[in-house]
Amino acid sequence: MPLSPEKKQQLEATLREFVGKPIGPPYQGRDAVNEPMIRQWCDAMGDTNPAYLDPAAAKESVHGGIVAPPTMLQAWTMHGFEMAKGYDEPTNEEQRLHKILSEHGYTGVVGTNTAQGYTRYLRPGDSVSAEIVIESISEEKATALGIGYFIVTRTSFRDQDGEEVGWMTFRVLKYIPAQQPQAAADAPAGQPAVPGRIRAPKGHDNAWWWDRVDEGTFPIQKCNACGTLHHPPRPMCSACRSQDLGWVEASGRGTLHSFTVIRHPQFPGYDFPIVAALVDLEEGTRIVSNVVECPPEDVHIGMALEGFIHEDEDGFKLPLFRPAA
């Protein structure tokens, strides 16, 4: 439920108070940099770099001795086991910020980007502390997950002498979920639920069209009064305003009017690159679809196409086009 303009203004004023401030005092990592934790990390990452594991080889390397994997930087200051319990009451300003947003309906949180810089490699015996500052909070943004705020934190990692050994920026989206999470629990154990193509919303004016496609036909809406063809289907004829609308079956023959090749961003459920096409049907209307079974470099405007009803693995059917035989 979107907030009223007044409530939103109040919320955004509250949010602005967090920007530029540390979330609390620097957090001292519990254990100094040590070889057992490095080895455990390398096991999980499948990392066999001798600079992390083999004292003799590390001594010969540019590092002159065992070093910790640089990407392990943040691990030295993680809070460990207590994280499993969660935090009912905020223990720092970042948690307080998240709680305020959750209470306003922005309950979702997802990490979107991170960057780390390594001023120097850490060695066994170094002790690391982390100071986190809330660097920025965006304007409210509309995203695929829902509307929300991007929060960027910046962490300075320092050693026992107070010298910076590295930094990290971390961007999360705190959002109002656009829809309830899908119950993915019915996926077979040990197999990720791979999403399929996004389904077209079926409304009063177009559900019949998808129902015909499900039956394996390729329908085009036709005005019963004046004969005009329409696509996509609509509630009233654009030529004569009649609401007496029927349909004819398309032959599937058409020519490519225009196209674009979509390479990025890559959404799950689709095979990239996608040739998104405008196809002129021989009956005399035009449809947006995809050209498949043809390398993108061979697709050209004016090429003869043949439509067919494609069925995804999850049973979803839709008309696609391939080069005419």
């Binding site: 990390w41 999980a44 943040q74 791979v194």
Partner: protein, 134 residues
Amino acid sequence: MNFDDVQVGQELPPLDVPLTAALIVGGALASRDYTPVHHDRGAAQAQGLSDVIMNILTTNGYVGRYVTDWAGPDAIVKELQVKLGAPNMPGDTMKMTGTVTAAEGGDVEVAVIGKNAWGNHVEGTVKLALPEGA
């Protein structure tokens, strides 16, 4: 790897990472990240996921390892940037590929993609320094 042997456009050997529960849970605990969605399948399902998901520190670890596997023990990693996408879950495979996008004065930049059955789990850039000369 010596800087003199690196060219822009060069591709790194691909790496397939089979994603097991042991790897995902092991990576979370090795990074001291006990957030429940990274080790507790029930907690993950309560959030609409089908299984536990890889934590970001493990993703960073794999991106770093993928590049240093190629670059060798004398590389010095300076910076890592990642953009996160489709979650990594047990049963899937993360296919890692990389391309050298810049090489100047001993400094090299590598673009890394880790792709799973859903799409790109991670798109990253790693900046590192390589030894020069013989």
